[in-house]
Each structure stands twice: as C-alpha cells, then as structure tokens.
C-alpha cells in the first residue's frame, strides 16, 4: 500500500475534516481489505484513539462502535444473546482468528461487499448506522445510496428487542467467501428474510416478509409459499463460487430452514 502520511485522528470531527480534504484521504480501520485492494492513499486516517471499539447496552438500543473487531463481536455476551446470536455466528464464520482480530464492523459495512456475512444479519436486525455528517441512516438506505460516502461511520445501532434469529453461510470451505448467506429473524409477527452474497450485496425479501406477517399460524404450505416468494423476489447471479441456479436453490432450502427455525416449526 502506498501511503503518503499516516495520522491518528484526535477526534471524530478531526477525522472527518481530513477525510473531506482530498478524495484519496482514507480511513484505515483494520486495513485488512485495504491491503488487498492496494490503493494509493494520501492521508491514512487511523481511528484507534477514539474509543470506537466497544459494545454497549443503552435503554432502547445496542450500540456497536465502528472500530469493534469481528472477534470482539463474536465474544460479546450482548451480541451472542440478541436475535439468537446471529451476528456473533456470522462473525465467527469469517476467515480465521487473525483476520477477525483486525477486521472491524465498520470496515465490513463501508466496503458494501457483496460477499459480506455481516451485512446480512445486520439487515435482519434493522441496524441503523450513525455517521458524523449523515447522522442516522438505515443500513438499507446506506447500501442503496450511490454517492461516494466521504463520511465517518461512528457506530451501528440495533434496537433492543426480543427476537428470534437464524443465520447460515454456505461456503466451499471454512475459509472461503459465501456462495450464499442468509439471515431470517422474527419479532412477534414481524419477519426479515435477507440473502447475501447473491453474489450481489444483501437484499431483503419484502413481499415474503409481509406475507408471513399477515398470517396467524405457519404451516408447511405457508412456509413453502413464503420461500417461493422470497426466492423470486431476490435476484441471484453467477460467479466463480456458484451459478444463479444453484444459489436460487440454496436460497429456497435455507430460507425454509430459517423460517422453520425462527418459528420453531417442525414437520
């Protein structure tokens, strides 16, 4: 990586100001992904002194600092509990311990990676992003935004709730990117069904969520119908890790398993 200048920001405002100075000024979080892209950076902005690396429980929300590492996430008792621990499980499925000790949740989100195993569960948890300039913004709105975001992500906020969750990553080996990942959650009758690594970035199956919401009881037929709706609503493509056809099949199989899991449905 070519870096002209490396500086440790003294405040978020400071980081933001430098970020705004030039398009080739960049925030370095874990640096794990930046290394692979080998960019030329003018000023590398280090956020490590700003205390953004912890998880805290507020009255109505869980706050995750943008610099929280994946390993901290997976070991956090709070994260292990909420939504049956889907975010912790997702973190655990990413590479080995060495990468998880440096890769941050902020880096995972800001990259908008198609393969992301973190964005998928976060979307199923209605995560909200808090930026310095853009303030609060839903994860989905951020992913939809086309603009090049020269902003500092401060934290990720998840509304506190009693909810069930299911996460699964399908990959060739434990150290591979997902062929597909999926998160399903249920808050009472409110569902989220999210597919990631399609191979495009995660997307939600709104119609299927709505369909399930309107029903009182689930049955095999209803689950099958919801699965079909979900799979036809989301687009699946082909890359070296799998064909669109295979991904569609995985989406159906695991959406079904996911819905069954969050509804404790057994047939």
């Amino acid at each position: 990586m070519r870096i002209e200048r490396y500086m440790k920001a003294s405040s978020i405002a400071d980081a933001f100001a430098i970020l705004q100075e030039r398009p080739d000024n960049k925030i370095i979080a874990g640096g794990a992904w930046l290394k692979l892209t080998d960019p030329v950076i003018n000023t590398a902005i280090d956020l490590s002194l700003l205390g953004l690396n912890s998880i805290s429980e507020q009255d109505n929300e869980i706050e995750i600092g943008a610099m929280t590492t994946l390993y901290t996430l997976e070991k956090s008792a709070i994260i292990q509990k909420m939504y049956d621990g889907i975010l912790a499980q997702a973190a655990m499925k990413i590479m080995g311990i060495t990468i998880r000790n440096i890769a941050t949740i902020g880096g995972c989100i800001m990259g908008k990676f198609g393969f992301s195993d973190i964005i998928t569960p976060l979307m199923a948890m209605d995560a909200i992003l808090v930026f310095h300039q853009h303030q609060r913004m839903t994860l989905e709105a951020f992913l939809d935004s086309k603009a090049n975001f020269q902003d500092v992500l401060i934290k990720i906020v998840i509304p506190k709730t009693e909810a069930r969750g299911y996460f699964h990553k399908i990959a060739l080996t434990s150290l591979d990117f997902a062929v597909l990942n999926i998160a399903v959650s249920r808050k009472n009758s409110e569902y989220r069904i999210v597919f990631g690594s399609r191979p495009g970035v995660a997307s939600r199956a709104f119609a299927a969520e709505q369909y399930l919401k309107e029903l009182k009881n689930v049955s095999e037929d209803i689950i099958n119908k919801a699965v079909d709706m979900a799979a036809s609503e989301c687009r699946f493509g082909t890359n070296q890790r799998g064909s669109a056809e295979y991904r569609l099949n995985l989406a159906k199989v695991y959406a079904k398993r996911g819905i069954e899991a969050v509804t404790d449905y057994e047939n």
Binding site: M1, I3, K35, D46, M95, G96, I99, N101, I102, L175
Partner: protein, 155 residues
C-alpha cells in the same frame, strides 16, 4: 515516520514508511520466524501477537503498532519449546514453515481458554493453514500441551 513499539519485551524505535507492513519491519529487526506464505491474508504463516492477540503481520501496518507490543516465538522461547516437544512426540511437525505462527495462535488461545475442546481448538486455529500434516497429529499435540499445562498449573 518514526514509531516506537515493544518487540519481545525490547523497545524498538525505528523509522518506517507510512505504508510499510509489520512483516517488513519485523524482518528488518532480524525476526526469522515471521514468513510470507500467500500475499492475500489467507495462510496464517505471518501471524504475530499484537498486544497478545494473533494478527496477520502482512496486513497490519507498522504505523498501527506504534505504542503497542508485538510478540513472536523468539520472545517466548521457553513456551515454544514446551509446545514443540508435544509436536515432536506426535510427529506433528513436518516442513515447519507454518509452525511458529501456529504456536503463537496456540498460546493466544490458552490465554483466553485454558481448557478448549477439540472443536474450539479447530475453530481458533482454522486460519493457520498447513499443507503437510493432515492436521490430526497437530491437534493431538496441541491437546496434549493443554492437558500438561493444566496439570502443571493445578500442582
């Protein structure tokens, strides 16, 4: 730019390029145990302990370790020797190229969890690839090391 960090309990003050990676800085400090394996952060061969946590030295910028502490097997020779004795007993050592890195990950695991199950060992070490051993003799050696250390501690 100038950084200062602790390397195996020694203070190192050195000039680095802002884009320099820790593996390069350590090699300049004559550390042989840290080696390149893959260039894409996939093999684990360059693992070091950063404030006691295993990290890939190929992906951590030297600038990031300013005022932090780095440990390699050179700094924990006694512990490494004990682990290597178990590797020897189990025939778990082959080409040895990945072994210093693997040893550091084992020591980090022990700090976190002194009685890991075999699944916990596998999960913690999964990022440390090995193409020689078939893994099982390694795992037996690591389990034996944990057992012996736990026994010693109880005494």
């Amino acid at each position: 730019m100038k950084i200062e960090f602790t390397l195996n309990n020694r203070t190192i003050s050195t000039h680095i390029l802002p884009g320099e990676y820790l593996i390069e800085t350590l090699q300049k400090c004559n550390i042989h145990s840290i080696r390149r394996g893959c260039d894409t952060t996939n093999c684990g061969v360059c693992t070091v302990l950063l404030d006691d946590k295993p990290v890939p030295s190929c992906s951590v910028l030297s600038a990031q370790v300013d005022h932090h502490s780095i440990t390699t097997v050179e700094g924990i020779a006694h512990e490494t020797e004990k682990l290597s004795a178990h590797f020897g007993k189990e025939g778990a050592d082959q080409c040895g190229y990945c072994n210093p890195a693997l040893a550091l990950a084992v020591f980090a695991l022990r700090k976190e969890n002194s009685h890991p199950t075999s699944t916990e060992i596998d999960e913690y070490l999964v990022g440390n690839l090995c193409r020689c051993s078939g893994f099982k003799n390694q795992n037996k050696a690591i389990a034996a090391y944990f057992e012996e250390e736990a026994y010693q501690e109880e005494q």
